[in-house]
C-alpha cells in the first residue's frame, strides 16, 4: 500500500488547539513577579526642534515611579540597514509622538501618571511633512548628520539631503525606447502611510544581570536572532551575552521584524539604578504607530511607451517612499520596488529611480509586500490605462508583454520558470472578466479588474538559516528552527517535512518558539523566505539525523542502511524481518553486536545560505542574479459601487500564485485568503493621517479602520500553480506576502470599469469614490482628490 506523502498533505495545524483554548501565552501574558517594573514613554508634542529642557521632577514624585530616563542617557543608534534611529529623541525631536523620556514605575498606572507630569521645553524648527517637498533643494533637513550614520554597503543615503536611499535601474536606451513608442502614457498614483494593525500590540521585557552584564529580552519579535545581533552590536556586547526569547506573536506582517521597540525598553533595563530588575514595555494601541514603524507612504510615477501592437518598448519609473524619520529598515522596500520595477513584464529599456525620503512623521519600515504594493499600485493601473489607450484588452496586453521565463528582468537577471500566463487566464476566467455583467444591486455600477503580482524575497545576499532535528528517546522529534510561527503555519509545514523525511508521525514532531539559547541562527522570519530557506535547513538536518540513525541500526542489525526504512516511527529491515519502534537507543546509544555501546543522542543539523545572489550595481541596478527567486501571481475582483454613496462591495475575489510545490495546502490557502483581504481592506479603508501640525489623527482603531466581517466577501477563491523551484527543499518557493501586493490595484482597475474614472489616490474610501463619480459626471477621466 502506497504511503501518502506528507508533502502536499492537508493537515490541521500545530498549536491551533492551544490557540483555540486560549492557553498559548503571548508576550503580554508572561508573568515576572513583583520585581517587574513598567515603562511608558513621554512623547514629543512638536514635529521638529531642539530639546531645551526636560523637567521630570514632578514625575518622580508620583508614588510608584522609580526613575525617568531621557534620550541623553541612552544615545545609541540602532538599525538593521542604516543606523539612523535612537530609542528616544536625544537632542532633537523629529516627529510628534517621538519618545523623549521614559518613565519607569512599579505599575503601569503609576508610569502613566508619571508621563503626564513630564514637562519638556522645545525650540521649534521648521518641519517638512511632504516627501516631494522634502526632496527639494533647501528643504529643512530631517537628519543633518545623515553622512555620519553607519549603513550596509547596498544602502545609499545622500548626505546633505533628505534622501535616505536612492536605488537606480539603468537598462537599455531609454530615450530610444520612448522614440520607438507609438503611445506614451505617464501617470502617477499615491497612497498615505498605512498600519499593520496586527491585533497584538508590541510588548517587550528586558532584564540585565548587573554582574554578568548579560541581557535577556522577551519580545514580540519576528526575528529573534537579528534582534539579538542588532542589540549586541548597539550595546557592544558579545553575542553570547544577549539572549532573545520570542513568544508566539499575535500577527507581524513585518511590523515586528528586525528591531522595533526593544531599544526603548533596554534604555530602562540597562540603567544603573534599574539593572537587575526586569522592565516591561507594553505599547498601548494608541502608541503603536509612534513607537514602531508603519508602511511608508508612496508616490509612484510610471511613464510607459508602447508600440501600436501593444509591445512595451520603454518604461521610466519613479518611486518616492515617504519613510518618516527613519529609513533604518525602510531603505530596503525602496530597493525591493526598484529591482522589481519591471513588474511582470519584459521591458527592454527601463529606467527606475526609487527614493526613500525623510519627513517629520512616524517612520516607515517592513510591511507585507515590501515595496511591491507600492509599485503595483501605480504600475498595474498604468498597464490597464495604456491598454485602453491603444484599444487593447488589458488581459491580452499583459499576456503579450509577460516576462516569460528566460527573459531579463530590469536587473538583467533571467526570469526563472513560472506559470503566470496560466494564472492570469484562470483568474480572468474565474471572475468572468470579459463578460460585462449587470449589477446584482439595483442602481449600482459593476466592474471587474485584475492586477498582477510579483515579488522576490528581499533580503541580504547572505541571509542564512540553520536548524537541528533531534530524535528523542521514544521516537518523538524535537525541531529547533528559529522561524517565528505567527500564524502562517511554519511549524506545521516543518512538522510535515520532518514527518516525511524521518518517517515519524507528524503528531510526534514538536517545533519550539524561538529562544536564541536553544535554536541555532536564522536571519529573520520575513521576505516569505522561511519554508524555502529554513525548509532547506530542516530537510538537511533530517537527512543528517536519518543517516545517523540508519548507520547505527545498520551496525546493530548487521545490514546495509539502504535496506532500512522508517515508517510511522517504526524502523524496519524487511530483508531480515526486523521491525521495532524508535526507542531509548536513539538517546542512550546502541549496544552493538561486539558488546560495545555506540551512538548517543541523535542530533541532525542542517544549514542553508542562498549561494549566488549578487547585489545590483549601485549605479545601474544590474545583476545577473539580483534575487533568489520570484513568486508571481494575479488577483481579480468583481465589485459593485453604490453611485449614491461611493460604497464598494466586493462580489468576488480570486487570487492565484505560482508557489512552486505546495507543502501545506491549508497554510497557503489561509495566507492567500488573509493577504487578499488585507490588501482589499487597505485599498478601501486604510490611511494614516495628520493635522497640519503633524499630529497623528488616526492613532488607534477608532479612526484607523480595517475590514470587519461586514466588509469582506464570504470567501476568497484561491489556487496555486506549482512550477518547481530550484534550489528548494521540495520545489517550493515563498508565498506569504504575495497576496497582499495587488488587491488594491485590482480594485482600482475594477473601479475604472465601474465608474469610468481613474482614481489616483489610495485608499478608495466611499468619500473619494463618490467624489470621483461626481467628477466623472462632469466628464473628467482622472481623479486626484
Amino acid at each position: 500500500m502506497e504511503k501518502k506523502s506528507m508533502i502536499g498533505a492537508w493537515v490541521t495545524r500545530v498549536y491551533d488547539p492551544e490557540k483555540a483554548a486560549g492557553t498559548l501565552k503571548f508576550t503580554d501574558d508572561l508573568s515576572f513577579g513583583p520585581e517587574l517594573l513598567h515603562a511608558r514613554a513621554a512623547r514629543s508634542t512638536i514635529p521638529c526642534g531642539k530639546i531645551v529642557n526636560i523637567d521630570y521632577s514632578e514625575a518622580l514624585k508620583v508614588p510608584g515611579v522609580v526613575k525617568v530616563i531621557v534620550g541623553k542617557n541612552f544615545p545609541i543608534h540602532f538599525g538593521i540597514y542604516l543606523k539612523d534611529r535612537t530609542a528616544m529623541a536625544v537632542e532633537k525631536v523629529r516627529y510628534i509622538g517621538e519618545p523623549v523620556a521614559l518613565v519607569v514605575a512599579e505599575s503601569e498606572d503609576a508610569a502613566e501618571e508619571g508621563v503626564l507630569k513630564v514637562r519638556v521645553e522645545y525650540e521649534e524648527e521648521t518641519p517638512v511633512f511632504d516627501a516631494a517637498e522634502a526632496m527639494k533643494e533647501n528643504a529643512p533637513l530631517v537628519h543633518p548628520d545623515l553622512g555620519s550614520y553607519e549603513h550596509v554597503s547596498f544602502v545609499t543615503p545622500v548626505p546633505g539631503t533628505n534622501i535616505a536611499q536612492h536605488f537606480k535601474i539603468r537598462r537599455g536606451d531609454i530615450e530610444k525606447g520612448f522614440e520607438e513608442a507609438d503611445q506614451v502614457l505617464e501617470e502617477s498614483f499615491s497612497c498615505p502611510q498605512i498600519a499593520h494593525a496586527f491585533l497584538e500590540p508590541h510588548a517587550c521585557i528586558c532584564l540585565q544581570d548587573p554582574v554578568s552584564q548579560e541581557v535577556t529580552i522577551w519580545s514580540t519579535a519576528q526575528s529573534a536572532f537579528t534582534l539579538r545581533e542588532l542589540v549586541a552590536k548597539g550595546l557592544e556586547l558579545p553575542l553570547h551575552k544577549v539572549r532573545v526569547i520570542a513568544p508566539p506573536i499575535g500577527g507581524g506582517f513585518g511590523g515586528k521584524a528586525g528591531i522595533t521597540v526593544e531599544p526603548l525598553c533596554l534604555a530602562a533595563a540597562l540603567d544603573p539604578d534599574i539593572k537587575g530588575r526586569p522592565v516591561k514595555l507594553f505599547v498601548p494601541r494608541e502608541e503603536v504607530l509612534t513607537t514602531s514603524w508603519v508602511r511608508q507612504g508612496w508616490n509612484t510615477k510610471v511613464k510607459m511607451g508602447v508600440k501600436k501592437d501593444g509591445t512595451i518598448c520603454a518604461m521610466k519609473v519613479e518611486l518616492v517612499f515617504d519613510t518618516g524619520t527613519s529609513a533604518e529598515y525602510g531603505a530596503n522596500p525602496v530597493r525591493s520596488a526598484g529591482y522589481t520595477s519591471m513588474g511582470c513584464y519584459y521591458v527592454p529599456n527601463i529606467w527606475t529611480d526609487s527614493y526613500g525620503v525623510y519627513t517629520n512623521k512616524p517612520f516607515g519600515g517592513a510591511y507585507r509586500g515590501f515595496g511591491l504594493p507600492e509599485l503595483m499600485g501605480g504600475l498595474e493601473a498604468v498597464v490597464d490605462a495604456i491598454a485602453y489607450r491603444i484599444d487593447m484588452d488589458p488581459i491580452e496586453f499583459r499576456l503579450k508583454n509577460l516576462l516569460k521565463p528566460g527573459l531579463p528582468t530590469c536587473t538583467g537577471m533571467p526570469m526563472p520558470p513560472h506559470a503566470l500566463d496560466k494564472i492570469i487566464k484562470k483568474v480572468a476566467e474565474k471572475i468572468d472578466y470579459h463578460r460585462e455583467e449587470p449589477p446584482v444591486r439595483k442602481g449600482w455600477k459593476r466592474g471587474k479588474g485584475i492586477a498582477l503580482a510579483i515579488k522576490a524575497p528581499a533580503m541580504p545576499a547572505d541571509a542564512s538559516s540553520s536548524a537541528t532535528v533531534e530524535i528523542l528517546g521514544d521516537g518523538s522529534v524535537k525541531v529547533l528552527a528559529a522561524t517565528m510561527d505567527m500564524g502562517q503555519g511554519a511549524y506545521t509545514a516543518y512538522a510535515q517535512i520532518v514527518s516525511e523525511e524521518l518517517g515519524v508521525p507528524m503528531e510526534r514532531v514538536k517545533c519550539y518558539y524561538p529562544d536564541t539559547a536553544a535554536q541555532p541562527y536564522d536571519w529573520q522570519t520575513v521576505a516569505s523566505r522561511s519554508l524555502w530557506s529554513m525548509g532547506m535547513a530542516i530537510k538537511r538536518a533530517c537527512e543528517d539525523a536519518r543517516s545517523q540513525l540508519l548507520a547505527l541500526y545498520a551496525e546493530y542489525w548487521q545490514c546495509n542502511p539502504e535496506e532500512i526504512t522508517i515508517e510511522d516511527g517504526i524502523v524496519k529491515c524487511p530483508k531480515l524481518g526486523k521491525a521495532e519502534p524508535i526507542d531509548e537507543k536513539t538517546q542512550n546509544g546502541f549496544k552493538m553486536p561486539d558488546g560495545k555501546y555506540k551512538g548517543g543522542p541523535i542530533i541532525g543539523r542542517g544549514h542553508f545560505v542562498p549561494p549566488d545572489v549578487v547585489y545590483p550595481d549601485l549605479e545601474t541596478g544590474q545583476s545577473e542574479k539580483s534575487v533568489v527567486h520570484f513568486t508571481v501571481g494575479a488577483v481579480g475582483v468583481d465589485i459593485e459601487v453604490d453611485p449614491g454613496t461611493g460604497e464598494i462591495v466586493v462580489n468576488k475575489a480570486v487570487a492565484g500564485y505560482d508557489a512552486g510545490r505546495v507543502i501545506s495546502p491549508l497554510n497557503v490557502k489561509c495566507q492567500i485568503e488573509g493577504g487578499t483581504v488585507q490588501g482589499l481592506s487597505a485599498g478601501m479603508f486604510e490611511g494614516i493621517y495628520y493635522d497640519k501640525n503633524g499630529k497623528l489623527l488616526t492613532p488607534d482603531f477608532t479612526d484607523y479602520k480595517i475590514a470587519t466581517t461586514m466588509d469582506v466577501p464570504w470567501e476568497i477563491e484561491s489556487f496555486c500553480e506549482e512550477t518547481p523551484e530550484d534550489p528548494s527543499p521540495y520545489g517550493n518557493r515563498g508565498v506569504g506576502e504575495h497576496s497582499m501586493i495587488s488587491p488594491a490595484a485590482a480594485l482600482g482597475n475594477a473601479l475604472y470599469k465601474a465608474i469610468g474614472i481613474r482614481i489616483h489616490q489610495y485608499p478608495f474610501t466611499r468619500e473619494r469614490v463618490y467624489m470621483a463619480i461626481k467628477a466623472a459626471e462632469r466628464g473628467e477621466k482622472d481623479f486626484w482628490g
Binding site: 478601501m684 489623527l697 461586514m710 466611499r766 463618490y770
Partner: protein, 288 residues
C-alpha cells in the same frame, strides 16, 4: 486610567444622594462604554463613579397605552430586540442595530448614548423623530424635558449635579407609522456615524407627516423642519419633491470636515440618505 471610587447604589434615592453629595466630582455610569474610554483618555476625571446597574427602577423597556418607557439601564440590544420597539419605533430599532457591534450593544444603553450627547450618537436622531422626552430625577425632584431641549451641544446637556436620567419616554405615534435610520460610516460596522439620518412617516389625523432628524452633521442632532413641511401630506413623493426636500435638509445641517469625512461629502450624503430614508419609510408603510 484615572483613579476613582465606585459606588453601586441599589436605589434611585441612594444614587441621587451620592451624586448630590459629590456634585461635579461624581458622574453616573450606565453601560460605561463611553465613560470608561473618556476616563482612560482623561477627557473626564470624576473622583466618584456611580454605577446605576443595580437600580431596579432603571431597568426595562415597557410599552403602555401612551408610549414606550426605556429605562436608563436598558441596553441597545434589549431595545432592538423588544417587540414593542420593532412594532412601533422601527427607526429606533435601526439606530440601535447600527450602533457599534453586538458586544458593545450588550452593554451600551440607549439613555447612555443620549447622555453622552456626542454629535454622531446613533440613537438620538430617531428619538428626535419620535419626540422623545427625557425624564430626570434629582435634588429638585422630577422633571421632564424634550430631547431637543435636553441636548445643548457636543457632550453638553441640560443637567445639574445630582440629577440622573431615569428613562426616556416615546409617545406612541398617532397613527400607522414606519421609520428607519440610515447611517453612513467608513465601513459597515463599528464606526462613528459620519452622517446619520432618521426618518419617521406617520399617517396621523392631519394626514401623512414625516419627521427627519440628522446626527453627526451639526453640534447637536437636528430636525429638518422645513424639509418636513415640504413633505406634509405627500404619500408618494416623486423625484422632484425628494430633490427639493433633500435640498432643504442640507440647509438644516452644518457639518464639518474632520479625519472621518469632508464637509462636501457629508452634505451630499445628507441629501442622498434623506431621499433613501424617505423612500424606505414610504415603502414600509405600503407593506403594512
Amino acid at each position: 486610567m484615572i483613579a476613582f471610587e465606585l459606588e453601586r447604589p441599589r436605589s434611585l434615592q441612594e444614587a441621587i444622594s451620592i451624586l448630590e453629595k459629590f456634585g461635579s466630582r461624581a458622574m453616573p455610569k450606565a453601560g460605561g462604554t463611553d465613560l470608561l474610554m473618556w476616563m482612560k483618555d482623561r477627557l473626564v476625571t470624576p473622583e466618584v463613579v456611580v454605577d446605576l446597574s443595580l437600580i431596579p427602577d432603571l431597568a426595562g423597556v415597557n410599552l403602555s397605552k401612551d408610549g414606550l418607557r426605556i429605562g436608563a439601564m436598558a441596553t441597545c440590544t434589549e431595545v432592538l430586540e423588544s417587540a414593542a420597539v420593532e412594532d412601533h419605533f422601527p427607526a429606533l430599532r435601526d439606530a440601535c442595530l447600527s450602533h457599534s457591534d453586538w458586544l458593545i450593544r450588550n452593554r451600551a444603553t440607549v439613555v447612555g448614548n443620549v447622555c453622552s450627547a456626542v454629535p454622531s450618537g446613533d440613537v438620538m436622531p430617531a428619538l428626535y423623530c419620535y419626540d422623545a422626552t427625557i425624564r430626570i430625577v434629582g435634588p429638585r425632584g422630577e422633571r421632564s424635558i424634550p430631547i431637543n431641549k435636553f441636548i445643548l451641544g457636543p457632550r453638553k446637556k441640560d443637567m445639574i449635579a445630582g440629577e440622573i436620567v431615569t428613562h426616556v419616554f416615546l409617545p406612541l405615534p398617532e397613527g400607522k407609522s414606519s421609520g428607519c435610520y440610515l447611517k453612513l460610516g467608513r465601513r459597515n460596522a463599528l464606526d462613528l456615524a459620519q452622517v446619520g439620518v432618521a426618518c419617521v412617516a406617520i399617517d396621523g389625523k392631519n394626514g401623512r407627516e414625516y419627521r427627519l432628524a440628522y446626527g453627526a452633521v451639526a453640534p447637536t442632532p437636528v430636525r429638518a423642519l422645513e424639509a418636513e413641511k415640504a413633505l406634509q401630506g405627500i404619500k408618494a413623493p416623486d423625484d422632484a419633491i425628494l430633490e427639493k426636500v433633500s435640498a432643504l435638509a442640507k440647509e438644516a445641517v452644518k457639518p464639518i470636515s474632520d479625519v472621518r469625512a469632508g464637509v462636501e461629502y457629508r452634505l451630499a450624503m445628507v441629501g442622498e440618505l434623506t431621499k433613501r430614508a424617505i423612500d424606505t419609510c414610504v415603502e414600509r408603510l405600503k407593506e403594512e
